[in-house]
């Protein structure tokens, strides 16, 4: 149903991200390299040095400065992109909150990588999961195609006047960042029509008149002032209001893009896979969903009513959609690729349980912590998860709600 002629390119996830940024008329890119995000920065440097973009590209001295620069460049009215992961994202932690608090619509790609110690360059979701409360929209992609598509959508979502929130797009280290895939790319002019120019909304200025929400000498405003107990809380409440608006914006942008490209990812928030009549459901994020879909197909052939729910948008958390998607299954296995030490389960597990607390019939919900530090998650292990779900559905008993899988214990 694609209405537009697209070109197929062999791109890794990182390259797909860089290519999307190249096409999106980005004004400023400030970034610092970290494996496995480096290719994004390297490809983009090539675009700059070969004159293929007129973006101002700054190779800063740290991730802290990468985001600090991105934030003020965005506040000055520029469209801004940066990228990081793991230690780099952790170093940005303070400024993540400042960026969302200043309502700067920065777009950032994250190649999900384990956090030290011990130092490890491979995939897990610890780095971005710990930042889920930082006020950023979080989108986790399944493959390089989706990485490309999501970066383009991210600019529209971030800069939308109902959201004005920064967006992180997460792709799994190496599995996606470094693996070549056939990626359909839109023609430049189609991308430019889709993303458009950054629209700066009007806000109430100091003299009560409407002024553009940016640092503009013709209409001076003060950004990032001291803000104590008499107003801070309202400003935080407004951030939550923006988050409440975000699902609609994400879905609208997703649908418009789907009409243009012929590609869709559920409703943009969640992607149910063979879930309609399923008894058993796995829930996961990122590239593991691809492997899980294969396992589901396999089980379906054997008559097992298996399904999958992939969470694409993790912030804002699509509570209602998740509840609607899962409330008719008998048993749910939540796969967490990060761990909250001492919390009896990973973050996704806790929030899936929270989403289903208000369901009329609550399914059994178990948690599998998997794949930390890039530990492989082969189809056989996923199959094991469904086997235990079968047992739970049959016996109506859960022996161990939280388990680690694929680890020597």
């Amino acid at each position: 149903m694609a209405k537009i002629k697209q070109e197929i390119r062999a791109l890794s996830g990182d390259e797909a991200v860089a290519y999307a940024v190249k096409q999106a008329d980005v004004d400023v890119v400030a970034a610092y390299p970290i494996t496995p995000q480096t290719i994004i920065v390297e490809r983009f440097s090539e675009y700059v040095h070969n004159g293929e973009v007129d973006t101002e590209f700054v190779c800063v001295e740290s991730e802290h400065s990468a985001l600090s620069m991105s934030l003020t460049a965005s506040a000055t009215g520029a469209r801004v992109f940066t990228a990081s992961g793991s230690a780099g994202l952790a170093l940005m932690h303070e400024i993540l909150y400042v960026t969302s608090g200043c309502r700067a619509p920065v777009v950032m790609a994250i190649t999900n990588r384990a956090l030290s110690a011990p130092i490890n360059i491979h995939c897990d979701h610890s780095d971005s999961m710990v930042e889920r409360d930082a006020g950023w929209i979080q989108i986790y992609v399944e493959n390089s195609q989706e990485a490309y598509d999501s970066i383009l959508q991210a600019f529209r979502i971030a800069e939308h006047q109902d959201t004005l929130l920064p967006v992180m797009v997460m792709l799994d280290a190496f599995v996606l960042s470094h693996t070549l895939e056939s990626v359909n790319v839109l023609p430049d002019n189609a991308v430019q029509r889709f993303v458009g120019m950054r629209n700066i909304p009007l806000i109430q200025g100091h003299q009560g008149k409407p002024v553009p929400f940016k640092l503009d000498p013709d209409n001076p405003i003060t950004m990032g002032p001291l803000d104590l107990y008499d107003y801070y809380f309202e400003h935080k409440r407004q951030q939550e209001e923006a988050m409440e608006m975000a699902p609609r914006v994400i879905s609208e942008v997703h649908d418009e893009y789907a009409r243009l490209s012929g590609r869709n990812y559920g409703d943009g928030l969640i992607e149910p896979y063979r879930l309609d009549d399923a008894d058993l459901a796995a829930v996961c994020l990122g590239s593991t969903a691809g492997t899980t879909k294969t396992v589901v197909d396999h089980l379906r052939k054997r008559g097992v009513k298996a399904g999958l729910l992939r969470l694409r948008t993790y912030r804002p958390y699509p509570t209602q959609e998740i509840r609607a998607a899962l409330q008719n299954v008998k048993a749910v296995a939540v796969m967490d690729r990060s761990h909250s030490f001492g919390a009896h389960g990973g973050p996704v597990f806790h929030e899936i349980r929270h989403a289903l607390y208000d369901a009329t019939i609550q399914p059994h919900i178990v948690n599998y912590i998997y794949g930390l530090g890039g530990r492989d998650m082969p189809p056989t292990l996923i199959q094991e998860i469904y086997t235990s779900l079968q047992r739970i559905a049959k016996t109506d008993q859960v022996e161990k709600p939280v388990q680690f899988i694929g680890v020597r214990e």
Partner: protein, 319 residues
């Protein structure tokens, strides 16, 4: 860098205040005076960014602001990166024909904590990359906003709340980091020191920094009556004493070439005009504990350090 601006008192009276009255700085606040003087020297449309610290806190509190130009604060340690972000965005927008103004200048303001200590990485990075902005360090020689704690700028022997005048350790044991020399070593086009007691010199330097084609760094001694423990009426007097004792000599380095500024040059030419450091220390309560038989030798030590640094500066200035 031929600045046409002469900064006569008449010129200044005619120029509008950018940091307007109503802010909440303490009476006698040196940094507030420094800001006022620097901002009188802007040449046109300007965007300012500020590190966390006293001046960020006193000049804004939602829904009020003392800033009549666009201004942004984000954090403590990143003001140079913030300035770099603004400058880069302006460059990008200009290139694409989306900037209304012909030119917009960028000024970053930070205290000594935000410069010598937690902010030096961002500053060094921005200087190395050559972003075109003026960085103004208002040096009140401690973390005043959080209650007078020591910084890399606090001078030897000074009392602060984290370098108390104890019975065993009388104030700060370490020496003041030569931050302006460190910035000269970055090979940036313009570095200067200034004092609000020499306001015309300060303004000309601020303007030169703004007009410089690349990063410019201006270190301004900014006495703080709260932290330095002196009467609020004496701020400018102490800022002048700092120069006349050679504790804080005035100079500029254009493309790395050091030149003494008038107030310090006079002393270089007529050394008998150099006032003993003792007089400077005596004027401030933060050095009071040194005026005891037990610790008096530290005053001589400080004099020696100041003399040595002054001599080194004269050499750099070919004097």
């Amino acid at each position: 860098m031929a600045s046409q601006w002469k900064f006569t008192t008449k010129d200044l009276a005619e120029k509008p205040e950018i940091l307007i009255s109503g802010h909440r700085a303490c009476a006698g606040c040196g940094p507030a005076t420094v800001y006022r003087q620097v901002l009188k020297a802007v040449r046109g449309p300007t965007i300012a960014t500020n590190a966390t610290g006293c001046m960020e806190v006193v000049s804004t509190i939602y829904p009020y602001t003392a800033w009549s130009i666009p201004w942004i604060h984000t954090a403590f340690e990143n003001v140079a990166a913030n300035a770099a972000g603004i400058e880069t965005a302006l460059k990008a927008l200009k290139k694409k024909g989306r900037l209304k103004q012909e030119n917009v200048d960028v000024i970053a303001f930070a205290g000594d904590g935000g410069t010598y200590d937690i902010g030096i990485q961002a500053l060094s990075g921005a200087a190395e990359r050559g972003h075109n902005f003026l960085y103004v360090l208002y040096d009140n020689e401690a973390y005043m906003n959080t209650g007078i704690q020591r910084s890399g700028s606090t001078p030897h022997g000074a009392w602060t709340t984290t370098s108390p005048a104890g019975r065993v350790i009388p104030g700060k044991p370490e020496y003041k980091k030569p931050i302006a020399d460190i910035m000269v070593a970055h090979a940036i086009p313009y570095v200067a020191t200034a004092s609000p007691a020499h306001w015309r010199d300060l303004m000309i330097k601020a303007r030169k920094g703004i007009e410089a084609n690349g990063p410019a760094f201006l270190q301004v001694i900014a006495p703080c009556p709260r932290g330095w423990r002196y009467d609020i009426s004496r701020t400018i007097e102490i800022a002048r004493l700092a120069v006349n004792t050679c504790v804080f000599p005035l100079w500029e380095a254009v493309d790395g070439e050091y030149v003494l500024s008038a107030a310090s040059k006079v002393i270089a030419l007529k050394p008998d005009r150099k006032i003993p450091v003792r007089d400077y220390l005596k004027a401030q309560g933060r050095f009071r504990h040194l005026f005891t038989p037990e610790f008096e030798h530290i005053i001589d030590e400080i004099q020696q350090i100041i003399d040595r640094r002054w001599k080194r500066l004269l050499k750099r200035c070919n004097m």
